[in-house]
């Protein structure tokens, strides 16, 4: 029996049609828009002004506060303006607009393709480099990596977990990155192990990526303390709590952080970015984005600079099909539906999924028949239909007692419901409300 997490879970159709398509480049447009808020935490303070010349890798936004991450220019050219632009959630955020001129990189960046294995830095220096390069969690959560790699006082990391699960259907950007940059990812892993001062790392990979499992099982022989663990295909295995459970058998208690069980989780894309930051002095200015969907002409994996509009990437994949009803940034389970394809690629853009109109519309909701399928699929062991009712009738104290704040918003309940009830919509609303009440009580 393959390992997996122990509570709930679903197995949606995988649809990984872009798997095996080599990572391809994309032409840089005349103008890029680089948002100053690409991470969880405080937005960056701009450190450039209109008319400034920038190169690839020039710092343009400085992190403010501990939970924040630097932002660098992904192109060379002239700053046009600092203005508002729409983000994936539909909010207007500050962004740096840059007119592209040539492709000149900062001289400190090592652009050679050679693998650099050795690293003489001490753990603190590795962390400083990660912070300086503006690395954030690239699985989609975009939590600043240097914060995650600095365990709070009184806690100690015992094991590093590398998330190569890519449990969202359709997405293949991590899959392809692992196939093409295996050594870089493994060196990156040793760097993170060094920063955390841990001796052991496990790379969790779902069993639908046999090629990656074979490659990594072969490669890890050259790296001390790193193991590969194939996992049963089960959504949401890429969720931090689920992955730690699957790989170590440890379950994090309600409200606690992974470090409470001695674990730190990093996505493979993040680890690759850490390798480039530490060994090549390269800040996080580009990432792999999957562009895919049922009617997409050429599903592909693109290495895109941050700031290029999504419409350019969709162009590379053969353009927006006429049947398009919904464009999702991220995967179908947790991604965000976009109002426009003009928004730029950011550090957290793992994929663009294009859904035909026929499949983009929801069915009308029926009365709950209490089949309890939502209860059996919930990976957090909650009762989604009860939480939806409590939210509908605004019974916040009971909702808190039923642990509404434990919800990880994976969407397994809504996915499963035979009565088409929008369980997660309500729970998300109730969770926000209850979190607000808890915050007010603390103050």
């Amino acid at each position: 029996m393959l390992k997996t997490f122990r509570i709930g879970g679903i197995h949606p159709k995988e649809n990984k049609i872009s798997a095996g398509n080599a990572i391809q480049p994309i032409a840089i447009p005349d103008q890029v828009i680089i948002p100053l808020s690409q991470h969880i935490g405080a937005p960056c303070q701009p450190v450039v002004k209109k008319g400034d010349n920038v190169k690839v890798g020039t710092l343009i936004g400085k992190s403010v506060g501990f939970v924040s991450a630097n932002i660098h220019s992904s192109v060379s050219g002239t700053v046009l303006k600092i203005d508002k632009t729409l983000d994936a959630s539909g909010y207007k955020r500050d962004a740096v607009f840059i007119k592209v001129e040539g492709d000149e990189w900062e001289s400190s960046i090592d652009r050679s393709p050679d693998l650099k294995k050795s690293c003489d830095l001490v753990p603190g220096e590795v962390l400083d480099k990660i912070a300086a390069a503006g690395i954030v969690g690239m699985g989609g959560a975009t939590f600043p990596s240097h914060v995650k790699l600095t365990p709070p006082p009184g806690t100690k990391a015992e094991i590093l977990i590398i998330n190569g699960v890519e449990c969202e259907p359709w997405l293949t950007s991590d899959h392809q990155l692992m196939m093409e940059k295996a050594d870089e990812i493994l060196v990156g892993t040793t760097l993170v192990m060094k920063a955390l001062k841990v001796q052991k790392a496990i790379i969790g990979i779902e069993n639908n990526k046999q090629d990656v499992i074979a490659l990594f099982t072969q490669k890890v022989k050259d790296y001390a303390g790193i193991h590969v663990q194939p996992l049963k295909v089960q959504y949401p295995q890429g969720g931090e709590k689920q992955l730690i459970d699957a790989l170590t058998g440890r379950q994090i208690s309600s409200g606690a952080l992974p470090i409470s069980v001695g674990a730190v989780v990093q996505n493979v894309g993040t680890v690759f970015a850490i390798y480039e930051a530490v060994q090549k002095n390269k800040p996080l200015v580009e990432r792999v984005v999957t562009v895919t969907g049922k009617e997409v002409k050429q599903p592909c994996n693109i290495l895109s600079r941050v700031g290029i509009p999504l419409s350019d990437l969709i162009g590379v994949a053969g353009g927006l099909p006429e049947t398009t009803g919904k464009v999702v940034s991220g995967g179908p389970m947790m991604g965000k539906a976009l109002a426009s394809t003009d928004i730029p690629v950011t550090k957290g853009t793992s994929g663009i999924l294009i859904i035909p109109t026929l499949e983009a519309k929801r069915n009308a909701m029926k009365d709950c028949i209490r089949c309890a399928k939502c209860v059996s699929v919930c990976p957090m062991g909650l009762n989604p239909t009860l939480l939806m009712n409590l939210t509908e009738y605004e019974v916040w104290d009971r909702a808190e007692k039923e642990h509404i704040t434990d919800c990880i918003e994976c969407g397994s309940c809504s996915y499963t419901c035979p009565a088409d009830r929008p369980l997660l919509d309500y729970i998300r609303l109730g969770k926000g409300k209850v979190n607000g009440i808890i915050r007010t009580r603390k103050n």
Partner: protein, 321 residues
């Protein structure tokens, strides 16, 4: 961009599961038992089942459309199931006007007046059967001899459970009970056919094992302990498992989504309760059969069970370290 994009919160995909699919899976699972009924009671089985379905669907359509003034919901298949299950719970020669009253009670009073599918407290078919049993005790407890009966295989017009207390020497063989040619209500007789239905429902993940298994295990264990002390047919666990409405009730009636608990723990409590009450009525009650009363009673306790059982939460049980 010319076309407007649809914006909605995640998730953006759905399993494709529907209420109808689940209901029709239950109907498919009832086919083996229906075939046995056809074999045993011939045309009577067809007439009773067809009429019960017609009455239930018809009453639901008319009540929802003309009294509730809402869009009829008969397409979801739940009224068909109520009809089939009610038919399976009555003798094959029940007068059709009595059957019609049972259907009207099940659909009109037990289902629609509580708000329709999803809102009823009691299983409509069970409540309909009990209503008929109390209102028409004579017609509901005389069973026709099976069309397949011969002089040698001891099929009589009294049920196994009826004979168990009164004249245990006339019991049919366990094999007859398992295959289902003894006397009884239309669809409850063949344990084998009902078990095939159970495996289909488990395979399709329409239901989980918790409710049927806990009912059967409780009945087997309870009577088994008594049988160990006093091995008379009255306490024989196999007779209790294979006779009466136990299999039909455990597999198809107790597992009704709407009226059974939502958590695994709750399902087990509910199943044990049904098994316990069933055996208690069968052994010490006035009625020979207790499955429907047991289910009705546990239906009433379901909201309470739901309130006091929570699913096993992540991180709650497993100690780390």
């Amino acid at each position: 961009m010319e076309q407007k994009l649809i914006v909605s919160p995640s998730p953006h995909v759905h399993s494709g599961d529907t209420i109808e699919k689940n209901m029709y899976n239950v109907l498919i699972a009832l086919i083996p038992a229906f075939l046995v009924a056809l074999y045993v009671f011939r045309l009577d089985a067809l007439i009773i089942t067809a009429c019960a379905v017609l009455f239930c669907v018809g009453f639901e359509y008319l009540i929802v459309k003309y009294i509730m003034k809402k869009t009829p919901t008969v397409g979801d298949g739940s009224a068909i199931i109520t009809g089939v299950l009610l038919a399976f719970n009555v003798p094959a020669d029940l007068p059709l006007w009595i059957l019609a009253i049972g259907c009207l009670f099940a659909i009109g009073v037990v289902k629609i007046s509580f708000g329709g599918l999803g809102n009823n407290i009691f299983n409509p078919a069970i409540a309909g059967r009990i209503f008929l049993l109390i209102s028409f005790p004579a017609q509901m407890t005389t069973w026709p001899a099976a069309a397949t009966a011969t002089a040698t295989d001891a099929v009589s017009s009294a049920t196994v459970l009826g004979n168990l207390k009164l004249s245990p020497e006339t019991l049919p063989s366990l094999q007859t009970m398992f295959l289902g040619t003894e006397a009884g209500s239309l669809g409850e007789m063949s344990t084998l056919a009902l078990l095939i239905g159970l495996f289909y429902l488990l395979w399709k993940k329409t239901i989980t094992w918790h409710i049927p298994f806990s009912i059967m295990a409780t009945v087997a264990l309870f009577t088994g302990i008594l049988y160990a002390f006093d091995p008379v047919p009255l306490y024989n666990p196999l007779i209790h498992l294979f006779s009466g409405g136990l299999m039909l009730g455990a597999i198809f009636m107790a597992t009704d989504y709407v009226t059974s608990p939502m958590t695994r723990k709750g399902m087990l409590i509910y199943g044990v309760g049904i098994g316990f009450v069933t055996v208690a009525i069968r052994l010490w009650g006035a009625y020979p059969e207790g499955v429907s009363f047991a289910i009705l009673l546990m239906n009433a306790l379901t909201p309470l069970i739901n309130n006091y059982t929570s699913p096993k939460r992540f991180g709650e049980v497993v100690k780390h370290g």
